[in-house]
Symmetry: C2
Subunit: 472 residues, 2 copies
């Protein structure tokens, strides 16, 4: 009945505290299908709730007892109650995106109890434009952030006419994908729920080893982090982001056409990812300036990168992605957007070059930092350091390029919610979908005030970069 929890899963469970819940989230926006009525939100909720057989992954809860010698194991929740996990919510008037982000931030703030399987999903109605949102929450011990995003995608279809599609936690998911393999089902419809847990958390496979890091290697990591002479600089100024956090969250999200970022990249000889980082850099600069909290020295972002281009799209399969991390200088000391983009491009090029010359142990050390900061944080005592190794984490994970549907409801946007930790109060995770690049910003509600302002700054920066690149 009981099965072992792998070291990474265990580490995420043990690292969890009231102020640092270790779950990742996704906010997904759907358009109602043609002719759907006023009660469509309830219909969607009911079809997500009324599942005949729930997949095993969604029935497991962590358990520790005398009989397991104190070790954490997965056991099946024999009193599973899907109404606890699949919820139905609504937005107050006027039902703007603002109210939606507020609710998503609140839902993301509460820690999940170990007495039940570690996932929740909330169908949210009440958006004034009639769209329906789905907020999903999955513990990092169960799946990593990327796989959590893919969980929903795995049950979507490119066929807007398809019906009788299962919820991500439906045991039918496996059978459905098998029966449609080679047919109209998109490549993303790989059945994740059927994969072994260690594969599901593939992006963390290496970090998983890091969790069991022997003391000698841990010392190496620590030295690496604190070594100014390293090829990858890990020094960053102290900012408001690098403080102890509370358990309360605020969420901000918005998307922009990928074509606009691509245009800037083409005109300046930089990558889309460089432009993403430049947008973040400009936004963070403007945000900190407004708060009169911009340090003189440039901020450093930790940016997870794939080790080679071929792997970059293989997030949820065995190949893994984002197994290395680059410390990127964001040029927040430079007033000119073009200068910041150039600095970022150079920093990323250097970093990836350095990564390619690193030994596996060094890459492991980097990965451990990048992929599992929550696990490594106690090791490094990030919040206690005079100068943090980096100021914030910015991830960018490619997603599906085509339009997807769930039972005729078109997915129009999908935004990730990651994990702030002590010393890293702000996390920016980006993902692309259907020609748009979505930014999901999650911060400690107290440490990172007025997070919504960052969205305006991102927009301003995108326009400024276009102007600087001469593509407007």
């Amino acid at each position: 009945m009981a099965s072992l929890i792998d070291p990474t899963g265990t580490a995420f469970l043990l690292a969890e505290s009231r102020t640092m819940p270790m779950h990742v989230g996704g906010l997904h926006l759907f358009e109602r299908p043609e002719g759907a009525g006023r009660d469509y939100g309830r219909q969607m909720y009911e079809s997500m709730r009324d599942v005949d057989e729930v997949a095993p992954l969604f029935l497991k809860r962590p358990h520790r007892s005398l009989t397991t010698a104190g070790q954490l194991v997965w056991v099946e929740d024999d009193q599973f109650d899907i109404e606890h996990h699949v919820q139905h919510g609504a937005l107050p008037q006027p039902g703007r995106v603002r109210e939606l982000l507020e609710l998503a931030g609140r839902l993301h703030s509460t820690r999940m109890a170990w007495e039940r399987p570690l996932w929740e999903a909330t169908v949210i109605e009440g958006l004034r434009d009639g769209r329906i949102a789905l907020y999903t929450k999955t513990h990092h011990a169960l799946v990593d952030g990327i796989s959590a995003m893919r969980l929903l995608q795995s049950v979507l279809s490119t066929d807007g006419e398809r019906t009788a599609m299962p919820a991500p936690w439906d045991a039918r998911t496996r059978r459905t994908s098998s029966s449609t393999s080679g047919s109209a089902a998109p490549p993303q419809a790989t059945d994740l729920t059927d994969l072994p847990l260690r594969t599901l958390r593939s992006a963390l496979a290496i970090a998983g080893e890091a969790a069991g890091l022997p003391a000698a290697l841990a010392r190496t990591v620590t030295r690496g982090v604190r070594n100014e002479t390293s090829a990858i600089s890990l020094h960053a100024p102290r900012t408001i982001f690098n403080q102890k956090i509370t358990g309360s969250r605020r969420f901000a999200a918005q998307d922009w056409p990928v074509a606009r970022l691509r245009g800037i990249g083409k005109a300046t000889g930089t990558t889309i990812n460089d432009v993403v980082l430049a947008m973040c850099a400009g936004a963070v600069r403007a945000y900190l300036l407004e708060l009169d909290a911009l340090p003189d020295a440039p901020l450093v972002a930790m940016v997870p990168v794939g080790l080679n281009a071929r792997q970059a799209n293989a997030a949820s399969t065995d190949g893994g992605n984002a197994v290395g991390s680059v410390m990127c200088r964001l040029g927040t000391d430079l007033p000119d957007p073009a200068d910041r983009l150039r600095t970022i491009h150079a920093s990323m090029t250097d970093g990836k070059q350095a990564l390619s010359t690193m030994t596996p142990a060094q890459i492991l050390a980097m990965s451990a930092l990048g992929q599992a900061p929550a696990i490594i944080a106690p090791l490094l005592r990030l919040e206690g350091m005079m100068r943090p190794p980096y100021n914030l984490i910015i991830s960018n994970v490619p997603g599906p390029r085509t339009t997807h549907y769930w039972n005729g409801a078109r997915l129009v946007g999908t935004y990730p919610l990651s994990i702030p930790i002590n010393g890293m109060a702000l996390n920016i995770t980006c993902t692309s979908y259907d020609g748009r690049l979505a930014f999901g910003l999650i911060g400690c509600r107290r440490t990172v005030p007025h997070l919504q302002r960052m969205l305006g700054h991102l927009d301003t920066e995108l326009t400024a970069l276009e102007r600087a690149a001469g593509v407007t």
Copy 2:
């Protein structure tokens, strides 16, 4: 800056765990004022949120540090953020009372973090009949359940035309009540926020001493609880209510005209409280029968009672109420409603008689059990006992008899949410208001399934009692 937390408050903080949050709640239903628009929910939310100066009681958070020698103290939250505490929520379609109770149960399930003042309030819109609900949540370390209910009442007015009325946490509350004392303000408008904390928790004043109970007295309590020969029997059969609980809650609430209960009381020579208990007894019997879980032996309810009638209405002043407890046999083994009511009446009469002959130390022991089960539970290991001392707690606290308003919005119902604990998975708290008797049932979502059914059973039982009393 720091102030000591009294022993009861400390005990409630220390007794708290993820599965047993120690807060009490209130669900209050308001009718929109004449001519109020579609955005009235937002208006009410904003006037609850936009408070110039928050009263000191609502700015305190518990704190423990080296400088306080490990002792818990109250400190002012110097980063107080009212948007964290005053929230704006909404119900999904179709916006029935069912959706409201579901949301209230969810809101009541989450534990409050000690890093902030221990209270929350949520203005809830989306009821299809246009009413607006307010859910309030206050930690038991701050105020007891009765005072928590009174907190809202303390700012209400009997004058439906009055405007510019403050929220309960507004520092103006004190000034307003002072300026109106002797005027149209109702007696309930006593300013609670200005009272010292120990007075606010007056109903727990004696239990407070019990928390610091010396070992010898603790032994007395234990003996009393386990002593079959005691005047107050404390033996009860084992039921599904007497199990370990989870942190997830379900809430059910409804009210009935006091006149109907009074009619039964008059015709049968029993009190309104006896009829309340008989309704609960019949409902619990029907509920357990449906689940095939009714024990042969009758269930026992712990019923807090005032030591004399004069004190019964003085819940929130220094006099205190409910300082004793009666163990009431509910007659759940009897199929006839009239027999159950007779049994309950006799049991309550005996119990009150026994209480009046008890020594102060005995009453203290009873009170400790009744008022602070959460504190005493670890002492008694309720959930570990073969036979629990009682099966559930049923409280009935009188409230205002006249119609009250908040800025022109008429309060049409007010329902208490209390605290289930390990071994006591169901709590029923009743209160009267404006001619109606409101029942608030709160249970562990897992241990007490289908709690909503109890409302139907309560209604059925009231009708059956009327028929039995010949008053229909």
